[in-house]
Amino acid sequence: MSFSSWPKWLMLTALAIGILVPVLVGLGETIWAAFGILPALGRHTFSFSAWQQLFELPGLVTSLRLSLVSGFGATLVSLILALFGSAWVYNTSVKESFLSKVKPFVQAILVPILAAPHAAIAIGLAFLLAPSGWLARLFSPWLTAWELPPNLATVQDLWGLSLMLGLIIKELPFLWLVSLVALKQIDVSRQLTLAQSMGYSHTVAWCKIIVPQLYPLIRLPVFVVLVYALSTVDMAQMLGPNNPPTLALATMRWYNDTNVQLLLPASAASILLGILIAASVLLWEVAVRTAILTSKVMIRSGDRTGKYSIFTGVLTTALPITVILGLLSLLVLALWSITWRWSFPNALPTSWSYHYWLQLITHVPLALQHSLIVALMSSGLALTLAVAWLEVQDRFGGHLYKLTLWFIYLPLLVPQIAFLYGLKVGFLRLGLNGSMMTVMWAHLLFVFPYTMLSLVDSWRALDKRYLQVAASLGRSSWHCFWHIKISLLLRPLLLAWAIGIAVSISQYLPTLMIGAGRVESLTVEAVSLASGADRRLVGVYGLLQALVPLLAYSFALLLPRLVALKK
């Protein structure tokens, strides 16, 4: 541990305090409370009474079942669709058709869904699928003979299907784009050509050759999706069943219950959720390894025919439908935001108005202001930290790469509800609760991982020789860093920043729990308004939620071009 590498240790300490410590403190407090120690309630002794209480609470088993089914189901289906979508993009042998013209635009089409917060998509989907939703209005009364909204549970159904659909709509673009990026590291076209020349069809070759090489590269993002699906609260609130709800939502309700004695079983439930998630990740990995072994047997048999035509047919329809539903969810929000009156069963609003948007411009809501401030601060700080960490690693040795991965993924792999409550208590003790800075810090915990993830590959891919040439020409290392590294990496840096903005806008629980009602946000506002009757106002907030990240992305994509033009 030489003194000259002090920046490295400084960075490590900064990251440890900034990221690791809050998560650990939060978890610690939650574990304490789960085992009976909550001084605020006068409980000082270690006991299992919280767990006893938890198992006596109604609906626990149903909640567990719901969480598992929707969590695994959504992750599995999104993964399969993403792999199928990637196979389609790389299928160069199909003759020109309408769909093949869409291929270059796939990323552009998926970005709005990717950028929109989970809550916005959930609200939009609810507005789309509800008995009085847009789909029902489009097909009534000429197809369905409905003059009034039917008494069907299309949203918040008891099996969690609409929750699964919402999750799939949001996670498919994420996994698809992550796969497409990862596939650039594999020589896909030549390997596929080889397999096809040996008689394998494109689909079979894809499954036997490409997928096994791709999966290890997307393993961690898949885990992130699985963890989110099991622990989401905002999506469960909009789309999941109400009674009994998924475990994560039930836990949040117990935390917020007027009966403060429920804080203890709520903490126990958080730990249970954490254990559930860890067990699920393990189970998933075991299932994957088993699948790999089974596939080896199938590969040895040399079977080349695809008996999968029904399967492929289902996927070919499911994929575009999922994407279209995602885009429609955003569109319906836009429609409602400019509606004055829209009675069932009209296909479009009966009268239009810009009223709510005008109100927005004259009285900029606090939610918008706060969301923007927190987003800009947290993404700016996250980007600075990420760049500093990467630069320090470059200059002082990168042996700590594996450690970095843990820092990056820890806040994403521990369920939010498991440590945010404990973190709130910790902040309360320090007198920090309810301030903008603390909320920004809480957002940073989640923004930093995504910023790092999106930056790391481009950073490491930068040809070191540019810097060596500059150094040999006598430039100082600061000059090299700024003028060469940063300007060459401008595009990935701006994209990482835009992703940070999107993640921050999307945060629900951190603002809710750490903000203590003093810091508002678009997402919290939208979710609480969505349970009310005015869909027009919800439309505005929902759309705003989606527009802010979209603007950030557009800025990130356009600025490098403007800079290039100026030169």
């Binding site: 160069t92 042998s93 003759k95 020109e96 093949s100 020589d187 030549r190 390997q191 050509t193 080889l194 397999a195 096809q196 020349s197 040996m198 008689g199 394998y200 069809s201 494109h202 036997k208 050759i209 096994p212 090489q213 080896k296 590969i299 040895r300 048999s301 040399g302 079977d303 080349r304 025919t305």
Partner: protein, 212 residues
Amino acid sequence: MSLELRSLSATTEGINLFSPVDLAVAKGEVACVMGPSGVGKSTLLNAIGGHLSTHFGVTGDVLLNGQKVTHKPVAERQIGILFQDPLLFPHLTVGDNLAFGLSSNVIGAKNRRAQIEQALEQAQLQDFYHRNPATLSGGQQSRIALMRALLAQPQVLLLDEPFSKLDLDLRHTMREFLFAQAKLRLIPMLLATHDPAEANAANGPLVILKPA
């Protein structure tokens, strides 16, 4: 099994990339395609194999045993290809790579294993079934890649400068091995190369590719 090319050329936006090729290769013969870099040797092989990207079109015909296969999909043509890099699938062992290639005409786990072991013997890599491909040397990988392509029982084998990354001695050994396999399995081969020594040693029909 014979390969015939009749006025075959690849086109992009209606214009030929190279002057049309006429060639006949009998079973067991090794034909060579030569030409300067960038003239389109790989594109020609892609056109024959059927794996041209959709930017390109094909004029002329490819005939296998007298049957036109010019517009058949790759998986149905039974035309094998070997690239410059061995491209052994990294997630499979050496033996499983060969098993992947082994034609589905060979039924039964025991039969299949026996054929794979035989192929390993021919390549002089007897105990390599469970080895990780990344641990093999360049020459060993090339041999396995060749055996994999041959185990698929193709009607024709195309080779796109397959030995250019090996050193001279190794290249010579691999070449002899290749010609021996061609005669043994009685399949026509088409070798794209810029090495005149290879063309000489092949002692078969020669095509010199010229720009259009």
